[in-house]
């Protein structure tokens, strides 16, 4: 990914950097093997090691980055070390405990011209914790392709784009968990539906005091023929599990979100939809473990890639947590032309952290707490429940769960003439 000219061999230990070198700092970037084992830095003669765990939020201050002879980014398993060739040899040989997977010179980068910019972007984003900055590349004005879908009296553009309106499947018998701000339990469009609601926010019940959760549940599981307005829901007979993990103020912590995931997995929900995230570029280990264990138990976790791009200004953003855990299906947002929406986050460079699939996420009409009843908003949050709904239809149609269900979404999706870093394997499509 960093340099497409030099494909990396799986498992290879690489010494030295690849790609168009400019300047180096004299320090080395070490990628440590997975795990939390200690490194005996003293054995390589490296002293005064700063560890990101010693700082609030794991944020190593810039002055420490600049002045410390060695900085360990614990959550990344990466260290930046001032070491001479002999010391590098000791580290690379694995004599210091935890194995070292690669050693590369730390590079100095400048904004580069087109063509080499992707390399700079890849490297710089990869060490985003070090730079704490995002690349502001020159804007590329999209040609503005024509819309392929629009809302009609029968169905929203999103329901049409994923083919839900042409599908014979309904999600019947499939539990879809939406972990969000709760649900408007009195919404008339959902009268008579099977709804299990639970709050994981202290002091608040499952009733939606924000609107975001009701909107997401509407897209994933809204009715086939709402009493008023077009169809906006995908899996119209799915069983709804509404887990409130974000409070009425729209915020929540890992504890509540993990509790909601645990609830959904324990209740055998084949699909867990999470239109939430934090704008951090590194995968958060608990979500990787949770996503992996959910898959192993037959629950596919779908999460929003994030809205931290501003493509109109040439800023591509990055997939935030939890969607940047490879074990969680990350969803990017498309507009009515099936082009990535201007806010939709791009894949992180390197392995993991990628956008996996894309779905409608611009000008999405869905349910909203009464009395408003409906609302039209945009976001990767709106794309995510489209995927959750489609996943429920495939789960019903095929009986597949977990990774098999993930593969089915990818296998059956429509490829788009867009960069895969933005749309992954393309637009998810419902079974016919």
């Amino acid at each position: 990914m960093i340099d497409p000219q030099v494909p990396e061999e799986p498992g290879s230990v690489r010494h030295g950097a690849v790609g168009p070198l400019t300047r180096t700092t004299g320090r080395q970037v070490l990628v440590l093997a997975d795990g939390d084992g200690p490194v005996d830095w003293g054995r390589a003669g490296v002293r005064d090691v700063a560890d990101s765990r010693d700082f609030a939020d794991g944020v190593v201050p810039p002055e420490v980055l600049r002045e410390s002879p060695a900085v360990v980014f614990a959550a990344l398993g990466i260290a930046v070390v001032a070491a001479d060739p002999a010391q590098v040899g000791v580290l690379a040989a694995g004599a210091t405990g935890r194995p070292v997977l690669s050693v590369s010179p730390e590079l100095v980068h400048h904004v580069l011209e087109q063509g080499t910019a992707s390399y700079a972007r890849g490297y710089r984003d990869g060490v985003a914790d070090l730079t704490g900055r995002l690349l502001a590349a020159p804007a590329e004005e999209p040609a503005g392709p024509a819309a392929r879908f629009e809302d009609t009296r029968q169905a929203t553009w999103g329901v049409q784009a994923v083919g839900a309106d042409g599908s014979a499947l309904s999600g019947r018998g499939i539990r879809v968990a939406v972990l969000d701000t709760g649900f408007d339990l009195d919404h008339p469009d959902f009268a008579g539906r099977a709804v299990t609601a639970r709050s994981f926010v202290a002091g608040e019940g499952p009733q939606d005091g924000h609107g975001h959760g009701t909107h997401c549940i509407g897209t994933a599981c809204g009715p086939r023929t709402p009493p008023a307005g077009p169809r906006y829901g995908v899996a119209h007979e799915a069983e709804i599990f509404a887990g409130k993990v974000l409070g009425d103020d729209g915020s929540g912590t890992d504890a509540g979100i993990l509790a909601g995931m645990n609830w959904a997995v324990t209740n055998r929900c084949p699909v867990i939809s999470m239109s939430l995230g934090a704008d951090v570029a590194q995968a958060h280990p608990p979500y990787s473990a949770a996503g992996r264990r959910a898959l192993a138990q037959g629950s596919l976790v779908v999460a929003a890639a994030g809205n931290n791009a501003d493509r109109r200004a040439g800023s591509w953003g990055f997939v935030g947590a939890p969607a940047n855990s490879p074990e969680i299906l990350a969803v990017g947002a498309l507009d009515q032309a099936l082009v990535p929406a201007w806010f939709s986050a791009r894949s992180l460079p390197g392995r993991g952290g990628q956008v996996d699939v894309a779905a409608p996420g611009s000008e999405v009409c869905s349910a909203w707490p009464m009395p408003a009843r409906y609302n039209t908003i945009s976001g990767t949050s709106m794309a995510t429940p489209h995927v959750a709904g489609v996943a429920a239809l495939w789960a019903e149609a095929t009986g597949r769960r977990g990774l098999e269900l993930w593969a089915t979404l990818v296998q059956e999706g429509e490829r788009l003439p867009q960069p895969s870093v933005d749309s992954g394997s393309g637009l998810v499509l419902a079974p016919r």
Partner: protein
Amino acid sequence: MTQVSVTVDERHLSALDGVVQGLRARGMQVDQVLDGLGIITGSVPPGTLGTLSAVAGVASVDEQRVHRLPPPGAPVQ
């Protein structure tokens, strides 16, 4: 207090109670044991998060993040 999530390694998934005891012995106030995921949440005094890593069965210890949505009226959510 620092809110933390403790991820338990694969080998200890069926022995969460022992891990919980180990965490408590090192000063963690345990709030939730998420047996479906193998994750334990709770809190520790500031600056002591790293000491939990030494408990047998702990794969990682991470400070909890806060996730925040835009206000209901925002056009992009």
